[in-house]
């Protein structure tokens, strides 16, 4: 089942709203936390609603508005959101107040906005969209589950436009807690140098991406998504076989893969495994990296999907991704490992 990306919206640690300047001057961060560069939200959201929205809601709503605008669609037929952590800021505010005020006189707003589906519901509410509304949350498959849901629905009715996204935020507390697990870099480095120094730990990222997906091409279609699959907790052999079968099922040869975007995260141990799998699976296909631009987080594959689609659309690979000139760029495969258990593949094609 082929679905078309008819519009995209993105808020990420990179300033990427201008299509023509695809990562021409990527942001370089010191430290292990890559926070989003946020747009002027009043362009997208009525200020009277903005006031009550947490950061993740603003980022989600803004990116959804960008995607719909690009697609020239006012109200989509459904909204499908993937989020690994959900609305952390409001969850923490309510927890904090509950403990501090000893369960008395609590403001309900952060509680109301703490559930994962608040992002998709806010978008529906602002658009008055009464169609299908779904929120998937499965760690490193949160966005992939949303994509698979959308593709299955479009297979049944290709005329629909389904706003499909991946959204996650970093908060101070979530960063501090995850840092204690030792998953982020402790040594000081510039984010763009992540892959130049072999060490333990990755960089923490966040982002909000929505895609207007349809079974029918639009005016601004950037690429098509031909196939998506996930591998949960596979053995090395299962993963290599699975990737091989996936590539075979697309009827493309390895030579026809113009670019493979690989979600290496900068952690020496994890990347050793990823390199091994890539070597076994992708032959000599050109390989691009992106997590020094996005950081690592559950829905980082949405960054990769946005990047892959823009690469196909603009026929240029940013030098920060791969310092090599390749033309034409027709087939881009995304292989995203998320820590040890989560591995996914997304095939993008020019159309």
């Amino acid at each position: 089942m082929t679905v078309y990306i008819n519009g995209m919206g993105a808020v990420s640690p990179q300033q990427i709203w201008i299509k023509e300047m695809l990562l021409s001057d990527p942001s370089n961060y010191t430290g292990n936390r890559l926070s989003c560069i946020e747009p002027d939200y009043t362009q997208f959201i009525d200020p009277k609603y903005l006031r009550r929205m947490s950061r993740i809601l603003k980022m989600g709503v803004a990116s959804s508005a960008m995607a719909l605008h690009e697609a020239g669609v006012r109200i989509p037929d459904g909204i499908i959101t993937g989020t690994g952590y959900g609305c952390l800021e409001d969850t923490e505010i309510f927890l904090h107040k509950m403990i501090e005020l000893r369960e008395q006189a609590l403001n309900p707003t952060p509680f109301i906005q703490s559930t994962h589906n608040t992002i998709g519901s806010q978008i529906a509410l602002l658009l008055m969209c009464q169609g299908y509304n779904q929120t998937h949350t499965q760690e490193g498959f949160s966005f992939e589950s949303a994509l698979l849901d959308a593709m299955m629905a479009l297979n049944g009715n290709p005329n629909q436009v389904l706003l499909t996204g991946g959204v996650d935020e970093i908060t101070d507390a979530s960063h501090q807690i995850q840092e204690r697990f030792g998953i982020f870099r402790r040594t000081s480095l510039l984010s763009l140098d992540l892959f130049n120094s072999s060490s333990k730990g990755t960089l923490h990222g966040e982002g909000a991406f929505y895609f207007a997906l349809s079974g029918k091409k639009g005016k601004e279609t950037s690429a098509s998504i031909d196939s998506v699959t996930t591998f949960y907790n596979p053995s090395r052999e299962e993963l290599i076989t699975g990737i091989h079968e996936f590539v075979q099922s697309t009827s493309l040869s390895l030579e026809e893969l113009d670019l493979v975007l690989i979600g290496k995260c900068g952690d020496a141990n994890l990347d050793r495994v990823t390199d091994d799998i890539s070597k076994q699976s992708f032959g000599s296909a050109p390989i691009g990296l992106f997590k020094h631009l996005s950081g690592e987080y559950p829905t980082a594959s949405a960054f990769a999907l946005w990047l892959g689609a823009r690469i196909i659309q603009t026929q240029q690979i940013p030098s920060a991704v791969l310092n090599e000139s390749i033309r034409p760029l027709r087939n881009v495969l995304i292989y995203n490992p998320y820590f040890r258990h989560y591995h996914s593949l997304i095939l993008l094609r020019a159309c």
């Binding site: 927890l95 109301i112 589906n117 998709g120 009464q130 998937h136 949350t137 498959f141 589950s145 849901d149």
Partner: protein
């Protein structure tokens, strides 16, 4: 005939029972599970009644042979999911098997204790208490316990979560992507949700009275409900004697308000209507509705109005079983799917406890007693959530 998605097994745990037979017994004898809060310390103890599963974490861990640090959400889920798989008799390894679970609190039952320490000193708090915080983690733990790794997914659309999980499972089987799916949801009672609903001033200080004119809010509950769904192929190959199949479902958005439902119940109306259309059924064909029926002024009026609009005066037998279990949030769709399927299996309907007077605006009288010996061929189960997420699912007799 179209390919059907069959129900091959049920598993449930809630305030009214730790197994399907004990649950059915409580439903049959009108034994409510609502009582005082004992699971954790809270200023609301002795004030707000709740529907607790009658097993502490230590007892659950021992009974299930699981490590005691696991979240209650995961343990309740494992308990119910194991029950569902056991009752199906299916060897999950033989098929392309998936787990689609649902939860709204995830590991919050542990995180809220971690946070007390963490707020005092960011280097403090036991990391083992937050390692399973994410909603998806509870699903990982259940999947690991069942030996599923082909496909796992978690839905969180607040209180409609597990109905959406079951509908997604049915879609994936119909699309030929999976053969067997264990689907449902799990949520533990937490201080976080108790205080959240309390801050919204929608918790009743007495046992709740869904669909009553004098209803005064909901009681929170906890538990898990899972069902095993299989394709035609699996049913034939395994020689299963399934009594029910999934005949229709719909997910719509009220798009009215973040927490309140529209007065006319436009989201719930359209969810029920679309589920009927998919089932190729008329409103008259529905024999029983398991209501969302939380007991809040807003939900019951809105849901009742939508039912009155759709079914008119000839509304089917209907009841909210939340007067038994409390509102189990992300687990409610799974638990109530099990109840709906028991209604078909046992050809019976369940009472709406503590009902006295109809809501004047809609005049609906729910089922008042357990009644058996009925022809129950089609059952609708409603689940609506914060954010306007409205879902309806219909199960039919084979």
């Amino acid at each position: 005939m179209k390919d059907r998605v069959h129900v091959a097994g049920l598993g449930v745990i809630s305030a009214i029972g730790n197994s399907v037979p004990s649950t059915f017994d409580a439903l049959q004898t009108s034994t409510s599970g609502i009582g005082p809060l004992t699971l954790f310390e809270s200023v609301h103890q002795g004030v707000l009644p709740v529907g607790e599963v009658k097993m502490s974490n230590a007892v659950l861990a021992e009974k299930l042979s699981l490590p005691a640090h696991l979240t209650r959400t995961a343990m309740l889920g494992i308990h119910a999911a194991r029950g569902a798989v056991a009752s199906s008799g299916i060897d999950l390894k033989k098929w392309r098997s998936g787990l689609i679970s649902a939860t709204t609190v995830g590991g919050m039952d542990k995180t809220e204790f971690f946070f007390e320490e963490f707020l005092k000193d960011q280097r403090k708090g036991r990391l083992l208490d937050v390692v399973n915080h994410g909603c998806g983690k509870s699903t990982e733990l259940i999947a690991h316990d069942l030996g599923i790794n082909k496909y796992i997914s978690t839905i969180n659309t607040a209180c409609s979560s597990s109905t959406n999980a079951i509908a997604l499972a049915a879609r994936m089987i119909k699309a030929g992507q999976l053969d067997v799916v264990v689907a449902g949801g799990t949520d533990a009672l937490t201080k976080f949700t108790l205080n959240g609903f309390n801050s919204l001033m929608i918790l009743d200080t007495q046992p709740c009275r869904p669909f009553d004119a004098h209803r005064n809010g909901l009681n929170l509950g906890e538990g898990a409900g899972f069902i095993v769904l299989v394709s035609d192929k699996v049913k034939k190959a395994e020689g299963l004697n399934s009594t029910s199949y999934v005949s229709g479902y719909a997910n719509t958005s009220d798009a009215f308000h973040q927490t309140a439902s529209s007065p006319e119940g436009r989201g719930s109306f359209s969810a029920m209507q679309k589920a009927l259309t998919m089932s190729d059924l008329n409103p008259d064909d529905i024999d029983y509705i398991n209501l969302h029926g939380t007991g809040t002024s807003n939900n019951d009026l809105s849901e009742g109005t939508a039912i009155a609009r759709l079914f008119g005066n000839r509304y089917p037998k209907l009841s909210s079983t939340k007067a038994f279990t409390g509102h189990t949030l992300g687990a409610s769709g799974g638990i109530e799917a099990v109840f709906s399927l028991l209604a078909i299996e046992q050809q019976c309907v369940f009472p709406n406890l503590r009902f006295e007077n109809s809501i004047p605006e809609i005049g609906i009288t729910p089922q008042l007693s357990f009644e058996t010996g009925l022809a129950v061929n089609h059952v609708m189960s409603n689940s609506f959530g914060f954010g306007g997420n409205c879902s309806s699912i219909i199960f039919s007799k084979e």
